[in-house]
């Protein structure tokens, strides 16, 4: 295995785990305040990760240019996060600590993340809460005025901070306000409605980006000493997911094609409690908060193809399958276990609802026990939302739920500095692969995005920049920029010239079905091989037959989408290959061939205790596999069990 590991240097500092970050901050090179102005940094993406990074680097004095394809930073997908953000404050005095958050995150990630990164994340988690509160994030409070907490995602301590059901919105508004303050003061130049379509490199180092103005179609070059990608996750490779419609992989994929290795694309989190799809034109799936599993009981009818409505099915003919299989955890088993079990019963023909594609989440017992008012006080908002979407009243009949793609743990490979394998190009937030291993715990994505943006990258970027003092960025008239612009224009002209018969959405939907069927909740060798060949033929058809109307010099949503879907095709193939070589089950990657006798995920620590990172070899060539061996000094490896 050593043949794999020498390429990837994680740059994890020496020393005891709890001192690595502190010592490293001292050891890194600094850029003095007067010199920071001489450095230009591009940040692509202004969600939690990008907005916090751009604002902080602006405050430090760097010349920052921030880009988003949205009309305002406040629209980034981070806005949709509901549940909360973890922070190891131990305000509840229930035994929480940095070490416990670190431990839970490594274990929750099924031992596939880098210990040193996760420890740093847990350390800075406490600063994030202070930072957000100081910005005016209206976190929930107790009557005494102190911060309230709840427990989340199976954690045994209450460490989750929240702002009603809109935590992501409020944290993003906080980061956005810090960003706008910098825009006002001139520390950050904001470029809205600009879609990055190329990462530009010279002699292997990042030197800028090429963007398309989505309103005018103008293509422009932007130069810098460093480029930070904070462009979010790519769950929409499944077409249907809980992500916003515009989430995509293009920025990360373009960087991959320029040499940034792509790590662990097989790890995807499928969230168990979403509203099932209702018709073929469903455009996205809506998440119903995980907290519903605290009071709702999950069941399906015993009979196949049951035609009776839920209330007509007697208790004796119901299968409360999670309670039956996992008496200790019952309906509160982790996300991946709950999801897989729902798939099993639905595939067996016991699904409920008009399309037989859901399972019941039943509140009858909670309502009988606590009264409708209590249930309304806890979940009223969610019940209303459910009714608005389905037209069914969950106080009167059970909800129908089904798993949906929610989060992508894999992403651009980064070292301890959050730098990709392209020097000068960084990746933060959901776009990188870093801290969640094979499975992300609830309320940890917001934490990671803000940790990267506020507290990690603004330090680590200085180490690289310090070495460039006195050098100007590569100028925009350098041939490397001209080539990148020509590439973008060629692609645009190619898509407009196809003049096929089917819409971009048609192909995106078809691709999504393949990815869901073969690289979804359960994977096997046969299916994955099929996925690769079927995705390849669909891609060929797409390239010959997609129809993009209109022109390039104006707002053209089909043109925006066609590029994104094209990159999804590339990603989907890599995802299948990654799933194929990972001959074990871990977290969000379940290989049918690798399960225990009880049907649980079976890890293989001896052979797969590593990160898989893929290196681009050019169009039409297969990527090369590299490995970063993971070392577990602090958290002993154990097999998960929820029986």
């Amino acid at each position: 295995m050593s043949g794999y590991s020498d390429v990837l240097d994680s740059k994890v500092p020496e020393g005891p785990i709890a001192e690595k970050w502190t010592n490293h901050k001292f050891n890194m090179k600094l850029v003095n305040p007067a010199n920071k102005r001489k450095f230009e940094v591009i940040v692509v993406g202004t969600g939690l990760a990008g907005a916090s990074a751009a604002a902080t680097m602006g405050e430090l004095g760097y010349k920052v240019k921030a880009f988003t394809f949205h009309d305002s930073p406040r629209r980034a997908h981070s806005i949709a996060a509901q549940g909360g953000i973890n922070g190891a404050k131990n305000y509840q005095n229930d035994g929480d600590s940095v070490h416990r958050l670190f431990y839970d995150t490594v274990k929750g990630g099924d031992y596939r993340s880098r210990e040193a990164n996760v420890h740093r994340l847990a350390e800075v988690s406490v600063d994030i809460i202070d930072q957000a509160a100081a910005q005016g994030v209206p976190f929930a409070r107790e009557y005494g005025g102190l911060l309230a907490n709840r427990s989340f995602g199976g954690a045994q301590v209450s460490r989750t901070f929240y702002a009603r059901g809109q935590t992501g919105q409020q944290l993003l508004l906080g980061a956005y306000s810090a960003l706008m303050r910098q825009v006002n003061e001139g520390g950050v130049e904001l470029y809205n409605r600009q879609e990055m379509l190329e990462l530009v490199t010279k002699d292997g180092e990042a030197c800028g980006i090429v963007c398309r103005d989505v309103i005018t179609g103008e293509i422009s070059s932007h130069t810098a000493h460093a480029v930070v990608l904070a462009t979010g996750g790519y769950g929409n490779v499944y077409y249907l997911s809980t992500n916003a419609m515009m989430c995509n992989v293009t920025a990360a994929w373009r960087a991959h094609r320029k040499g940034a290795m792509f790590a662990n694309p097989c790890y995807t989190q499928i969230h168990p409690t979403c509203i099932p799809s209702s018709d073929p034109f469903q455009s996205k799936l809506t998440l119903m908060s995980e907290s519903l599993r605290n009071d709702g009981r999950i069941w399906v009818p015993d009979k196949f193809d049951e035609a009776r409505s839920a209330s007509d099915i007697p208790e004796a003919e119901r299968d409360y399958y999670l309670e039956r299989k996992y008496p200790a955890f019952g309906n509160l088993v982790p996300r991946d276990v709950a999801s897989r079990n729902a798939k099993t019963v639905v595939d067996a023909g016991k699904g409920v609802g008009p399309l037989k594609n859901g399972v019941y989440l039943d509140f009858a017992e909670a309502i009988a026990r606590d009264g409708e008012d209590t249930v309304r006080a806890k979940y009223g908002n969610l019940f209303d939302m459910y009714e608005r979407i389905t037209g069914e009243n969950p106080y009167k009949q059970p909800m129908r739920i089904y798993p949906a793609t929610h989060y992508t743990m894999g992403g651009l490979w980064v070292d301890y500095h959050l730098m990709t394998t392209v020097p000068g190009c960084y990746a933060i937030g959901e776009a990188n692969f870093s801290d969640h291993g094979a499975n992300r715990l609830g309320a940890s994505a917001l934490m990671q995005g803000l940790a990267d943006g506020y507290f990690v990258l603004p330090y680590t970027i200085g180490d690289q920049l310090a070495g460039k003092l006195g050098s100007d960025p590569v100028p925009a008239d350098d041939p490397v920029f001209k080539e990148a612009i020509a590439d973008v224009n060629d692609r645009t002209n190619k898509w407009l010239a196809v003049k096929g018969t089917k819409s971009v959405d048609h192909y995106h939907r078809e691709l999504g079905k393949l990815v869901w069927d073969y690289i979804g909740m359960e994977r096997n060798k046969n299916g994955l091989e099929k996925a690769i060949s079927e995705i390849t033929s669909l891609e060929e058809e797409f390239e010959k037959n997609v129809r993009v109307l209109g022109s390039a010099d104006t707002l053209n949503q089909s043109l925006e989408k066609v590029g994104r879907v094209s990159d999804f095709f590339g990603l989907a193939k890599l995802k299948a290959r990654d799933a194929l070589v990972r001959e074990e089950s871990a977290g969000g990657h379940f290989r049918e061939e690798h399960q225990t006798e009880e049907g649980e995920a079976q890890r293989d620590d001896e052979n797969f205790k590593h990160v898989t990172a893929w290196d681009w070899n050019g169009e039409g060539e297969a990527q090369t596999e590299h490995r970063e061996e993971l070392v577990f000094n602090e958290v002993p490896l154990t097999q998960r069990s929820y029986k």
Partner: protein
């Protein structure tokens, strides 16, 4: 068993730099389970098949939180359902044979980009003018050192729930942005953390708002259209703070 319907849509179409006009499209086979925007997706897919450029409209989260979607449906901003953004409106609210008129937000400060997409960057200009609390990264003290009365935190959250969609402006006969601005101003003015910059913030944000938007004459249409039911009380509170910001001797403002 699923109900489908046939609708007739009158949709505003406008190319950049040209005058717009209404165009009529038939929309058969619409399922009652679809959302309003999925209905438009279906129409667009058919238009593409026919070779007609699809209708441009904006959306992203499709769950009522990002504030991107923005349609004027039968003269109502975000359509007929109360406290609901366009993307959360579902077709079961409609009947077979209905005629639906779909227009962009109409306001001088929201220029039309194309068809139903408008430019709402004036809202960001208001935010940039002072919609923040100066707290550079790393400067914060422990969060629990500043207790916030629960009532104050709740009320700040009520204001902060604004999604910045601009329906309030679109619904207002004067195209005023008071409801949006008051939500942004009061979110911060209500919190202890927001006190140091309270007067400057209010003054700057209100005056920037006035540069771009019309004047408020208390119609209340904004509140009716608002998907988050932002309260008109915030406008009253902002007006009070604005008046005070003009007389407040800031040298004494540490005393509150």
């Amino acid at each position: 068993m699923e109900k489908t319907m046939k609708l007739t849509l009158k949709v505003w179409r406008q190319e950049p730099g040209q005058n717009g006009k209404f165009q009529t499209y038939e929309a058969p086979g619409i399922s009652e389970d679809m959302s309003f925007l999925e209905m438009l997706d279906v129409v667009n897919e058919r238009l593409i098949e026919e070779g007609t450029p699809p209708i441009v409209f904006e959306s992203d989260c499709r769950e009522g939180i990002c504030g991107t979607c923005n349609l004027m449906i039968d003269g109502q901003a975000h359509g007929p359902e109360k406290a609901t953004a366009t993307c959360q409106l579902h077709m079961r609210k409609y009947n077979d044979g209905d005629h639906i008129t779909i227009e962009p937000w109409r306001a001088a400060s929201f220029p039309i980009i194309r068809d139903l997409a408008v430019d709402r960057s004036a809202l960001d200009a208001i935010q940039e003018a002072g919609g923040y609390i100066t707290a550079p990264t790393g400067s914060a003290s422990d969060a629990n050192l500043t207790p916030v009365p629960k009532e104050a935190a709740d009320s700040a959250m009520d204001a902060a729930a604004c999604i910045g969609c601009g329906a309030c402006v679109a619904a207002c006969p004067n195209s005023a942005a008071q409801l949006f601005t008051s939500a942004k101003v009061m979110h911060m003015n209500l919190l202890p953390q927001g006190q140091a910059e309270r007067w400057k913030r209010t003054e700057n944000m209100v005056e920037t708002m006035e540069e771009y938007f019309g004047s408020c004459t208390n119609h209340g249409e904004c509140h009716e259209a608002c998907p988050k039911e932002i309260s008109l009380d915030f406008i009253a509170l902002m007006n009070k703070d604005y008046v005070k910001s003009k007389i407040k001797n800031r040298k004494l403002s540490g005393q509150n």
